[in-house]
Symmetry: C2
Subunit: 448 residues, 2 copies
């Protein structure tokens, strides 16, 4: 079989993937911060690294460990908790559940390990202590900062020096830092905030620390591939490298860094202020997870991807055609086409699947098997043909936030005794495919 090649952000080149130990492949990808429903930008990362995981499993058998963390302690979560007046645990549990359902809808395989940050606080305290004792970090008034000037390779992944990094980024300003680029390893928690005892008082870890601690725990000090979205290169991944290489006195942390490109929505940046964020839950309600998955793979992972109805409708037509050649009697994939091994060229591989489909639909049984295998390799055809058909019928064209707003309006109407309006809203939602039910003072909704 051909060699897998990947674009390594460390060298900014496409390289042949050479594992540290072919019998023990290690892959780490940054998972979600569970403070709000994940969006289609997050979905791209999930699907891209899921395909990489599937490819590695075919190439190297069952000896692939895929770690994807869950960040369940973070300032964004604390903020969301205060704003929504909901407990931290309630938020993180709810969003984690949504995230896991999203992964399932997108037909992403479960990672080998899915560690939570809050289960690894001890390790983070230990790494912080160790970095202080080795002279790479300093404590001041309950805060511990990593001293970037102590790590000469800082900026290697971003290919920038300290001054360039400083110019290009928003830095958290603090009088306590020696250097404005120093970053938090540990910080004190207010009484109400989640916190853990530490040598520096009650506090909580900085965001970057967990990935260094958990990747080492599950994959070792030096592992094969680290993945994530492009937006994480700086500062997150740069800081992971700093923490781990300094603490372990190693030159390399992950050997290959793979980053997926951004998702824009109708050619605009996705942002709260533009109000154009599309959650995975909304996307898979409108188009089914299979369609969303194929759309996310339609561009090369290193390139930007624009999300628009035309793109999604095209994927739906494609899958509709392809499901006509669906077969559930297939051998496992044992050989991967060169095209996909060439830097996970999914648009090229999808073109190849179109070719196989054409041959299959002319009655070529051998090609039909190859066609089904190819679809399965990239995580398609997890539905039976009947399930696919019914998934299309379930399609609704309204967003979750629209439904939530309507439900709120209805609750208000009922409170004001305006039951005519309340009923009108119920009917309106029903006509759009949404059934609602009042249960113990709460209103739940589902797709008809």
């Amino acid at each position: 079989m051909s060699n897998l090649q990947l674009t390594n952000s460390l060298t900014r080149k496409k390289e042949i993937f050479k594992p540290i130990d072919p019998k023990k492949i290690s892959l780490y990808a940054c998972g979600p911060t569970v403070y709000d429903s994940p969006h289609v930008g997050n979905a791209r990362s999930l699907v891209v690294f899921d395909v990489l995981y599937r490819v590695l499993k075919v190439l190297y058998g069952s000896n692939v460990t895929y770690v994807r963390n869950i960040t369940d302690v973070d300032d964004k979560i604390i903020e969301a908790s205060k704003k929504k007046e909901i407990g931290i645990d309630e938020i993180t549990n709810k969003v984690t559940k949504i995230f896991q359902e999203n992964c399932k809808s997108l037909n992403c395989l479960k990672p080998s390990v899915e560690p939570k940050a809050t289960d690894h606080i001890k390790g983070m305290v230990e790494m912080t202590s160790s970095l202080i004792s080795k002279g790479f970090a300093y404590e001041i008034k309950g805060h511990v900062y990593f001293d970037v000037s102590a790590f000469k390779d800082y900026g290697r992944l971003s290919n920038k020096n300290l001054d360039e990094l400083k110019a290009g980024t928003r830095i958290e300003i603090s009088d306590l830092k020696k250097n404005p680029m120093d970053f938090v390893l540990w910080k004190p928690s207010n009484n109400d905030d989640p916190g853990w005892e530490s040598p520096w008082g009650r506090g909580r870890p900085g965001w970057h620390l967990e990935c260094s601690v958990m990747s080492e725990k599950y994959l070792g000090k030096n592992f094969d591939i680290h993945g994530g979205g492009l937006d994480l290169i700086f500062p997150h991944h740069e800081n992971e490298i700093a923490q781990s290489c300094c603490n372990n006195n190693t030159k390399n942390f992950a050997n290959y860094w793979v980053h997926n490109g951004f998702v824009t929505i109708n050619r605009e940046k996705m942002s709260k202020s533009l109000g154009n964020i599309i959650t995975i839950s909304d996307a898979v309600k409108k188009y089914s997870g299979q369609v969303v998955r194929l759309a996310l793979l339609s561009a090369h992972y290193s390139q930007p991807l624009d999300w628009n109805d035309n793109l999604l409708n095209n994927q739906e037509s494609t899958l509709d055609k392809w499901y006509a050649q669906y077969s559930d009697q297939n051998k496992k994939v044992s050989k991967i086409d060169k095209i996909l091994l060439d830097d996970l060229n999914t648009p090229g591989y999808i073109a190849k699947i179109h070719e196989l489909y054409n041959a299959a639909s002319k009655g070529d049984e051998e090609k039909k098997i190859q066609f089904n295998q190819a679809c399965k390799l990239i995580g398609l055809f997890d539905l039976s043909r009947a399930e696919w058909e019914s998934s299309k019928k379930k399609k609704i064209n309204i967003s979750e936030s629209y439904i939530m707003n309507k439900l709120e309006e209805r609750t208000k109407a009922k409170k004001n005794g305006d039951f005519t309006l309340a009923d009108k809203i119920r009917e309106e939602l029903f006509s759009k495919g949404i059934m609602i039910e009042d249960q113990k003072g709460k209103t739940i909704w589902k797709v008809k």
Copy 2:
């Protein structure tokens, strides 16, 4: 042969291309405003519609008329002329020449007609008069405006109504307009500005008018395909439709509107303020036109494309490999793979070429012919193998503006009698692959 499908911006759907008359195919694409060197964003449009033109020629024989205009009268040109203190003609001639050299470097076929706006002023005056007489335009103080409220389909291409369009755009404010969205058909020229006599005094046409006039002249009132960059949908293409449909009393102008996506540079928008504009001249100096062309085709035309060294280096390696199977003894392409006909899926087609290359390099002579034909179809392999090799050697890693700045510095140094500095600059450029020569008071440069 399969049908060609294209994503039609008018319907926001992928549609089977049905020509008005299969014996007379018509394609119009917006060309450059010749006020400054074209950049890689412009190059994408050039290459995408060149591939479409090549595909149409194979499908429909020689009966394809491809019109691409040159805008040589425009406020941007007048501004540039004033700023640089160079005559209008000097600027437009110089930039037109650069543009045509760029097209050649990118191996774009010459369009059937390449009309200049200034050669069609008479037609523009006539269309303006006609629009006034039909009640779609009004004259005020030497200005003629198109009255958007008179065209009920205004906004059809952008899929927005007047209010939405108003909210989303920068409108040229004028007390003379009835409606802020009304746009210029004709405006008065100051004495120094280029101008032509008209029923409304000496003046010049608005930008949108020329495309309506020239497409009608060369392709007819209703033609097959109109192409351009996404940024032209509004207002330019919307206004072309308004002018032509109102003047001709027709429902349709172009039947298919095809738009190519944006190019970002290292994930940032290309802009003067960021100083990250890459001209085609610079790009083809650094990487050769073949490499630039392949890079521009590496993403689907409807998707965004990020320009970065990794992308370009990968294309260069690919071409280096492919040129090893180059053959100049090929029949003409007579059959186009389904993949490319499916909405000009160039990333999929490039994957197919990789497959053909693999078979060819194992000695399959039939596949080698197909491989060479496929490369030629998308405008590769215009160099011989020897020319390819020497094009790589010519590669320099500095930009044209860098060279120009150095030459200016050197001229100054010589003026000041500092010949040591002048020589130092000459040597510096030489070490970077640039030879300079002083000729009759001017300095010319070339790649070693």
